[in-house]
Homo-oligomer: 190 residues x 2
Amino acid sequence: MTVLEERIRTDGVVSGEVLKVNSFLNHQMDIELFNEMGREFYRLFGDEGVTKLLTIEASGIGIACIAAQYFHTPVVFAKKNRSTNLSGDLLVTKVASFTHGTSYDVVVERAFLTPEDRVLLIDDFLANGAALAGLADLVRQAGATLVGAGVAIEKAFQPGGARLRESGLRVEALARIQRMRDGRIEFCSE
Amino acid sequence: MTVLEERIRTDGVVSGEVLKVNSFLNHQMDIELFNEMGREFYRLFGDEGVTKLLTIEASGIGIACIAAQYFHTPVVFAKKNRSTNLSGDLLVTKVASFTHGTSYDVVVERAFLTPEDRVLLIDDFLANGAALAGLADLVRQAGATLVGAGVAIEKAFQPGGARLRESGLRVEALARIQRMRDGRIEFCSE
């Protein structure tokens, strides 16, 4: 998706293997860009009968909410750790955090993912794939149908995307980064 | 806002002083309802020259992103605790959590709140007002103009709303709960 790639090149900040897109994607959020991303997710997955978008707090929520306007579905966001506001029957999975070197529980109330649901996962970043694998596990536990995953940015030089696709999941990334070197970004599309 | 009050009465679950609106507001999210809320926030604050919506992770993000489509502004969400993805010059404030009996840092990169900004705070709940007071403090630290706060649900029987209004902040709540008794909800509008 050219518009996102151009934005990453213009406003992304590369430092080693870290790509900061804080100014438009996951701290300050450009809602017009999110609308273009939402339209593109719908172009890719619009014929899949999606009934629900599933994301994980916090930075996936904005993208998923804007995208949901094209799908006309609710959004469910999985919570990190059990909150006192959650109760009843919970779906729980464990996600390893490479960033923080720990692992944490990811939780969804069972009532919001049912066997009738056709679920599209949405997130901002795909690198090691741990968050998406956790969300996919929650969908499986719910007995729902997993339609695929739409992510804004994939770091294709990290193993998450390949692993998820090998597992049979359809993964669509709007911008796929081949490598980052000396502060320069190369996209797979180039 | 009648449509939100009706939805709370239909789908909210009261247990003591806890109101669960997980099925449409802060776990599963009804994006059509969010659009009605966004339009209402714009009706209330649309003539204030708002340049930025500021919310706090996680459950304010969806509401703010949908509302931003009416204001044509970016959204910034404040992060709880310093993340490894934040760097540079940070605005930090401390927020007491009544739910968890602790306090935590709330952080925004200074680059995303400037003295030129006219900021509207957005959140899902107003009870003790600690989160909104923290966001207001970040706006002050940035030297930006604080236009007001728009919240979905105010528990008017808790002290946050009165305190914030006494401090001079314009606070608009789309549904104000007078009291909850025996599982029944009474709104201030009644």
